[in-house]
Symmetry: C2
Subunit: 203 residues, 2 copies
Amino acid sequence: VVAEVKRSSLTPETIVDMATTIIEDGGVEALTMRRLAQALGVRTPALYWHIGSRQEILDRLIERLTEDLGSLVLEGRTPAERIIELCRAVLAEVRRRPYIMAVSFTAGRGEAVFIRVQEAIAREVHAAGLRGSEAAFAMRAILYQLGGFLVIDFGVDHEATIRGVDRWELDDPELLDAAREAVDVDEVFGFSLEAVLATLLPN
Amino acid sequence: VVAEVKRSSLTPETIVDMATTIIEDGGVEALTMRRLAQALGVRTPALYWHIGSRQEILDRLIERLTEDLGSLVLEGRTPAERIIELCRAVLAEVRRRPYIMAVSFTAGRGEAVFIRVQEAIAREVHAAGLRGSEAAFAMRAILYQLGGFLVIDFGVDHEATIRGVDRWELDDPELLDAAREAVDVDEVFGFSLEAVLATLLPN
DNA sequence: ACCTGAACACCGTTCAAGT
DNA sequence: ACCTGAACACCGTTCAAGT
């Protein structure tokens, strides 16, 4: 007896697949159970037979994203270089799929997506010669640096000018002009990360 | 003719007042127009006569919070000390009222709350001797440092242990133990901020 | 085992109607 | 000028009922 391939049958996986498509198109707030059901050609309650809740869909999606971020390859000769490369790779990936931040923040537990990245950083910090609680501290500092920047990068409108600069009581026209202009956020990121790394790692 | 004092009449201000109370109690998601109306002893549509929308309530609240954060006093002898003090003061204020982060992020434009803080930082950076675009860069780097940490501090469960540490392939038991334990996040914050400041400011 | 119709308890917002 | 009742177009979730 040949096992029939059931076509287009609902599974948690296909549900999360379609949820991802919807979120990619319209953001997390576009993911409603009614829309999701319609996209799958089914009525809303059918979803609940396969998956517990909307929250569970987001949780499973976060698990996938965690794996994606964790499987980024690290290149570079020194641990410091590899850490910087890793952070830049994560940044690039998050920019490619901005909903990563939206989902992980909406679902609470904003740090969950980065647990595998944290593991990679731990390895590099160890390779750099740090041990024990010192290594753990460095690991956290780097992850905070990365995570903090990612959230800011995601939540801030880069084109937005600072309001009210004209009212600043500051005699530095060039500063005021520069404050009004958009920032090269990547430069800020690179600079801060390197400053922290230089203080953290030996040499 | 003595002007009568109208008691308990609805104004945009009293609406935002009550909205603040509700948010303090139950978070931003607890702020619904129906609940808000009920707390004010009125039916929902009455609110719309005084204020445009739920979003406008949040926007007005953000304006207030912006002023609160902007009026924090800075103490310290040197610019660097005052910047650190300011950042710590903002952190303390945000921890006292965590909904500051929730509101400013929910309402989009997550950076808006900090525009007056940014002005204060600009002044200190100027006082430290930086000028023009160099000063503007330093200002952003410091604000990113502060903003990034605040979001992480707000979004991360400090008691949450890192899952899956047991599966890490790393021969450093002390590191693994330390990774499992909660971090002194303030130490991470202070360290990173000082590392960045040391690289940014003269001397 | 898998899906539907219908409902429940919510949302933000609008608008004709009242005073 | 200020407020209400009733409605519209949504939510997530449940559950008896169907096949």
